[in-house]
């Protein structure tokens, strides 16, 4: 089974069109398949392609009653490297010993100096390149889920494959499972 022992909360940052809400749904679906209780929480505004988007997950062994905003996530996943231009909102509230997983070509050291946090673990993955290679499109949601699972180890990655089978149309199942696998193996966490 997994290493999840207490409540785990994730905040996803991306842009409209990158599939952040799908990443959160995929994570919740995988967690539920693993026998946990999970919420996938999108935020809604004026929905348009390219606008910054945030989504959340809460995962627990017990039923979750809370509906309040997640303010101190255990992990933050950033799907769009350009969001680093304004790093403050990305690490706002991120717990000490938490995880920042980011789609970037930069190194862990470079990211750490940009965000100015020595108390969190950082995972870097070039998810855009992986997605372009496999899907021929910069849709990085499944890749960053793979990277997040490798970094945090909250669930065995196989549950994410099962979730992909449930959620994606047939022709996209194998490519996305492949993406998750590659990101899972390639993410660098320090």
């Amino acid at each position: 089974m997994s290493t999840l022992t207490s409540r785990f909360e994730i905040r996803w940052h991306g842009r409209g069109g990158q599939g952040i809400v799908t990443a959160a749904n995929l994570t919740a679906t995988a967690a539920i398949k693993a026998g946990f209780y999970a919420q996938s929480i999108p935020t809604f505004g004026t929905e348009r392609r390219g606008a910054p988007v945030i989504a959340y997950n809460r995962i627990d062994r017990q039923v979750i009653y809370e509906r309040s905003p997640i303010v101190e996530p255990d992990a933050v996943v950033v799907a769009d490297p350009h969001l680093l231009a304004n790093p403050k909102p990305l690490v706002a509230g991120l717990k000490s010993n938490g995880y920042l997983i980011i789609n970037t070509t930069k190194s862990v050291e470079e990211i750490r100096s940009i965000i100015g946090r020595s108390d969190v673990k950082i995972g870097v993955i070039n998810a855009t390149k992986l997605a372009m290679d496999v899907l021929k499109a910069p849709i990085v949601n499944t890749a960053v889920v793979g990277a997040m699972l490798a970094a945090t180890k909250i669930l065995p990655v196989e549950y994410a494959f099962e979730a992909v089978k449930d959620m994606f149309p047939e022709r996209l199942v194998q490519p996305n499972i492949q993406l998750i696998k590659q990101a899972y193996e390639l993410v660098k966490v320090e």
């Binding site: 919740a28 809604f44 809370e66």
Partner: protein
């Protein structure tokens, strides 16, 4: 045992409607309700559900069509919210007084102005006088179950009233969480289609929607009062049956840590989950706080509410809609006071307004409410106006 599926509240409701084998569905899309009827139209298009889906030009027409469908004996369904519900208003009163059953889901959303697609209870509360049985869920599972329970109540020959089921927009409708989805066979055997009401039939002609002059109108209204009383009895029976069949138990009110509570928060909908979580924290600090969630809103479970609160020193009632100029500012607060006073109990209350137009309720907000309750618990004078939580003054 059903199958546990990760579902947003809207899709959960769509599955329940499909399982109830609805005959006629009609709707005009409006956020955050849209994906209920989107999914239902897919079910009809791909043959999973044998029903008429009527795309109409307004919510006024949507409910008119549902009335017509129910009048010929069809199991009817619609979903709406906010401005759409406001546009249905005159038909709501007509349908309940014609004693035609249906289920209508409201995905709670603020009313304009300013334009706001986010969640509060302004729409739901605005139709409390329309003579419908009204329930409000607090989880996606409960939103799913309410539809199934709803048809059983609506079509019970002792009731014959339309039923509103509801959930919080976005906070439930678009949040994915585990939902146990039952088989269509099990659902339909729990809520079988029975034509228990008068229908339009050329072989047995009846008149519907005719004039009720001063000699008759009043008796129609009197009967609606009785039907609502029956609805409470039937609700209690149906939730017991439901628990036997599916293992999930509901009641008109849900109490949480009330037995020894000195102060308590009363409210409705999904925010009560956050309040329960806060109660857990506060209890660890020795604060004797409890919570009460009203699930069945019409008929109002006045006996249950009064009894559950009878030993609480001070009750804070949280309304998620504002009634400017009313004595309390909140529909629920006025109902709770009436329930307590009618039964001669000496339980004092203050009112909170929270979460209007999608303003989310934080743990700090709940803490403010509990702090206010502790501050006023032994005070001689209580605030006469609601305390506005989480607003910029």
């Amino acid at each position: 045992m059903g199958k546990v599926v990760p579902l947003g509240g809207n899709y959960a409701v769509a599955y329940a409607v499909k399982a109830c084998d609805v005959d006629v569905m009609t709707a005009y899309p409006i956020s955050p309700q849209t994906t209920i009827v989107e999914r239902l139209s897919e079910f009809v298009a791909n043959g999973e559900l044998d029903a008429e889906f009527l795309h109409v030009e307004s919510e006024h027409t949507a409910l008119s069509v549902a009335i017509g469908a129910a009048a010929v004996g069809a199991r009817a369904y619609s979903a709406t919210c906010s401005q759409g519900l406001a546009l249905m208003n005159e038909l709501l009163y007509i349908m309940s007084a014609m004693r035609l059953p249906m289920v209508l889901t409201i995905v709670n959303r603020a009313l304009s102005a300013p334009i706001n697609i986010w969640n509060d209870h302004s729409d739901f509360m605005s139709v409390q006088d329309a003579g419908w049985v009204m329930m409000m869920s607090a989880s996606n599972q409960e939103a799913y179950d309410e539809v199934i329970i709803g048809y059983r109540i609506a079509e019970d020959p002792r009731v014959l009233l339309p039923v509103i089921t509801s959930m919080d927009g976005y906070i439930q409708s678009h949040v994915v969480e585990p939902v146990e989805v039952e088989s269509d066979e099990d659902v339909l055997s729990f809520a079988p289609k029975r034509r228990t009401w008068y229908v339009l039939d050329p072989d047995k002609p009846v008149a519907m929607g005719s004039v009720g002059d001063p000699n008759y109108y009043y008796e129609f209204k009197r009967q609606q009062w009785e039907a609502m009383k029956e609805a409470r009895q039937v609700f209690d029976e149906v939730v017991v049956d439901f628990a036997k069949k599916f293992g999930r138990r509901y009641s008109a009110i849900e109490t949480y840590m009330l037995d020894d509570a000195e102060v308590a928060i009363v409210g409705m909908g999904s925010f009560m989950g956050t309040i329960k979580a806060y109660v857990d924290r506060a209890r660890k600090e020795g604060i004797k706080v409890g919570a009460l969630r009203v699930k069945l809103y019409r008929p109002f479970p006045a006996d249950d509410v009064a009894k559950a609160l009878s030993n609480v020193k001070l009750v804070g009632v949280m309304d998620r809609a504002l009634v400017p100029g009313s004595p309390t500012g909140g529909h629920l607060h006025s109902d709770v006071i009436a329930a307590i006073k009618q039964r001669g109990l000496d339980v004092r209350t203050i009112g909170f307004i929270a979460g209007l137009g999608g303003r989310l309720l934080t743990m700090d907000n709940v803490k403010q409410m509990v702090s206010a309750l502790i501050k006023y618990k032994d005070a001689r004078e209580l605030p006469k106006e609601p305390i506005f939580i989480g607003v910029r003054e």
